[in-house]
Amino acid sequence: MSESKATNGSAWPAVDLSIEFCGIKAPNPFWLASAPPTNSEYQIRRAFEAGWGGAVWKTLAHEPIVNVSSRYGAVDYDGRKVMGLNNIELITDRTLDVNLREIANIKRDFPNHALFVSLMVDSKRDVWHNIVKQAEDAGADGLELNFGCPHGMSERGMGAAVGQVPEYTKMIVEWVKEVARTPVMVKLTPNVTDVAAVGRAAKEGGADAISLINTINSIVGVDLDTFTPKPQVAGLGSHGGYCGPAVKPIALNMVSQIANDEGIRLPISGIGGIQAWQDAVEFMLLGSSSVQVCTAVMHYGFRIVEQLISGMSNWMREKNFHATTDFVGKSASRIRSWGDLDLNYKVVAQIDEQKCINCGLCYIACEDGCHQSIRIEPVPEQEFIARHPDHDQRVFESGCKSFVHGAGAGYVNSFTINQDTCVGCNMCSLVCPVRDCITMQPIPTGKESMSWKQYQDLLAEGKVAPIQPPTHA
């Protein structure tokens, strides 16, 4: 969405964020993931009052577990906090009775919100039957089977220990479906080689929906003073579950794998590093009907839902979408095998000299990491000023000194793309700090579209000459 251009005042259409997920209605697709923010009635009440459309109650078990202290570790990145978050906390540490009573209270007071209840018990048929009945009797709209927790519970044969074995997944889903009256959603672990295989097993077991991803196996760091892993428990650590903005690309890939698998075709609730409305839209474009959020709420609180709702609504207005079903899954089919991509499509970078601030980041990125296709030209200050129509912005006078921002030692570096050798890798445009300064321009190659798969066939048939390697390197 372009921030510079607000939607026209006369065209402020209503958009409908409400969704229906396996027959369960929710005022919007923004749900809280089964995690610390959904630990209690108090928290979920605050969340629904703040505007969240649904929640997955933190995983129930028959007996409360015991947690350790401390529990979380974070990855900061160059001045920003919590790019990634890792935890070694387990499932609910409250009694089943208390949880069930509070679930009933929430459903009584928020009948129009979606309330799934996450479950994880010993891999025994009657134990699963029992917890399913209790959760549904308390008023759960749906069940989420936690086959994903990578730490702690997996050592006891639960969580990821189930979700990493398609046969176990299928078996337990079947047990649950024997008694469940509400939709059953299976939460998948990313700690597998082929997430779709587990998704198919869930489907075969009778699952009604898939949610993913659970957290990723991780060691978040090591304390350089004490030599203990983070988070530390009396000087020791354990691998934990990684989440937060850093994991989003991994989650998007797995969501698209599930969405594009013809053997699955189930509603998806997307999870993994959603901070901003754009993240949520991306999950939905790749096939999620609802999204679940945890880390951003743990960082900033429930209030972030206001920005999520507003951002998605305005984007929908701009794109003329009236309901989320207008765009859910719209981009999923655009994810293909590499071998389906067109070898004859070409883009090259272009630098807008008027916008360039002369930092040289594009140049050094291209020179050292890419394809040596950016020219650096030291332009004498006076010549630079003459070239620049906005030079009054660039020239600064102070006392007896006059100088140019971005200049030094009498010159300003000017950068241009050598489009003959540019391979269109995007890297310069990714590192450029100035908006729209480096753009990737499609170049007509005059050639028919040809994927690598087609190329192999044509080569075998002798119908095309081999594509020559780049000559400049």
Binding site: D78, G79, R80, I357, N358, C359, G360, L361, Y363, I364, I376, Q393, R394, F396, E397, S398, G399, C400, K401, F403, V404, H405, G406, A407, G408, A409, Y411, V412, N413, P433, V434
Partner: protein, 446 residues
């Protein structure tokens, strides 16, 4: 002069002299360091006379390695701590910063540099050791930033160095001549001590004359002249020697050598000049408790050589300005200065180079019980002319070969303010000291 009853409390004066760029906290430094784009062939580095690897040291700070940051800074500029405080960064590194273009706000390079140097202070004196002795001996006249930098560089290369300083403290203008709200005396002296730790044979209150210099040239393997400049230039008007007329440097010196509440200050202070030193003196006068401070400059506001940020500081302090005011005489009352008679001027032609004309019949008097002359310093012409064969330029500064800083006299080098083409900033003097050391080292290596 000062009326004891009207003096500010010492607490108030101390508050007035609080540093204008206070240190960054570690969190501020981390946040600020993350703003740096880490430019390639960075304009800030090219705009630093000592070419400090600025993106490099800022990245060290961001990655919580302030010691690495300080080492990067001090490798290029052993006076990095004071340059961080006093450099006119607005017209050097920060003026060049590309964030001026993108965000209209540069990275605060000076304050980050100070953060690194301050944080690493407990270990930074151990960064440098004297090199293995070469048996060569160098004499340096003047213990200002140029002389001490040269001494430090030569010690790293193993040469023995003796430094002769006429004043009672080393550091030159860095210790005594910088506005105290920019650089505290304590810090300047501690920095000199750290630089000297490498093993410099320092002789204070030892003025060198032409005869002694001749002896040194025979005695040492090389000699560096880093004597700086002399007295504040004269107004050449009647009454200039009256009680109550001050030289700007003497006025600033006292803020470093006396307790602030014992510094001499007038009620009504008139500063003559339009350069950065005039701004410094005027601000200090106000901070010391003068009720009214006026800067009189012979040209108009646009022609004033003081930097914009220095002028802005005077506006914050409530300094008044009298433009196009050329001093004609000091007004005397009871044997003391009581004001200045000015002639109104106008400029014929453009800017600072325009010819000044007196506007007849429009002279005026500004009352003052303290008049501070801030007209820049004269060269030490008598001394320099007493050195046989020493070639000076038309302004009386020592001509040198730019690469080596060698003068026209064999074995004699020159750097800092006394050298032809020198700039006014401490950071330029430091670079001059580095270049002189390289030139001397090349000679000593034969």
């Amino acid at each position: 002069m000062s009326d004891p009853n009207s003096r500010l409390s010492i607490e108030q004066i101390d508050r007035n002299f609080a540093e204008i760029h206070p240190p960054l906290t570690p969190d501020e430094a981390l946040t600020e360091s993350a703003r740096c784009l880490y430019c390639f062939d960075a304009p800030c580095v090219r705009s630093c006379p000592t070419a400090i690897d600025i993106p490099g040291f800022i990245r060290h700070i961001m990655h919580r390695n302030p010691v690495g940051a300080a080492k990067t800074i001090l490798d290029a500029n052993i006076f990095g701590g004071s340059c961080a405080r006093i450099c006119p960064t607005e017209v050097l590194c920060e003026g060049a910063c590309v964030d001026n273009t993108m965000l209209k706000q540069p990275v605060q390079i000076g304050r980050l540099q100070r953060f690194a140097c301050d944080t690493a202070e407990p270990v930074s004196s151990s960064f440098y050791k004297a090199g293995e002795s070469t048996g060569k001996r160098v004499a340096i006249i003047g213990a200002g930033p140029c002389g001490l930098t040269c001494a430090h560089e030569l010690r790293k290369r193993g040469h023995a160095v003796s430094v002769f300083e006429s004043r009672e403290v080393a550091g030159g203008l860095n210790s005594l001549g910088i506005a105290r709200y920019k650089l505290t005396t304590e810090f300047a002296l501690s920095e000199v001590a750290r630089v000297s730790e490498i093993g410099i044979d320092l002789h204070l209150e030892h003025a060198v004359d032409g005869a002694e210099l001749a002896g040194m040239l025979a005695d040492y393997d090389a000699v560096l002249l880093a004597v700086g400049l002399g007295k504040t230039a004269s107004l050449n008007v009647p009454g200039e020697n009256l009680d109550g007329v001050w030289e700007s440097l003497d006025f600033i010196f006292q803020t470093h050598t006396l307790p602030l509440n014992q510094c001499k200050i007038g009620q009504n202070v008139l500063v003559i000049g339009g350069g950065n030193t005039a701004m410094d003196a005027a601000n200090a006068a106000k901070m010391l408790g003068a009720q009214r401070v006026t800067i009189a400059y012979r040209r108009d506001a646009e022609s004033m050589p003081a930097f914009k940020h220095e002028y802005e500081l005077t506006q914050k302090e409530g300094i008044q300005f009298a433009w196009n005011a050329a001093p004609a005489s000091i007004v005397e009352r009871n044997g003391k200065a009581a004001g200045v008679l000015f002639e109104k001027t106008r400029s014929v032609g453009e800017g600072r180079r325009g010819k000044l004309e007196v506007v007849e019949g429009e002279s005026f008097t500004l009352e003052a019980d303290m008049v501070i002359k801030a007209l820049g310093q004269d060269v030490l012409l008598d001394f320099l002319q007493s050195v046989p064969g020493l070639k000076l330029d038309d302004k009386g500064r020592i001509a040198v070969q730019p690469e080596t800083h060698a003068t026209s006299v064999a074995k004699l080098f020159a750097g800092g303010d006394c050298q032809a083409g020198a700039g006014e900033e401490v950071v330029i003097a430091v670079q001059s000291g580095k270049q002189s050391a390289a030139g001397i080292h090349a000679l000593l290596q034969g």
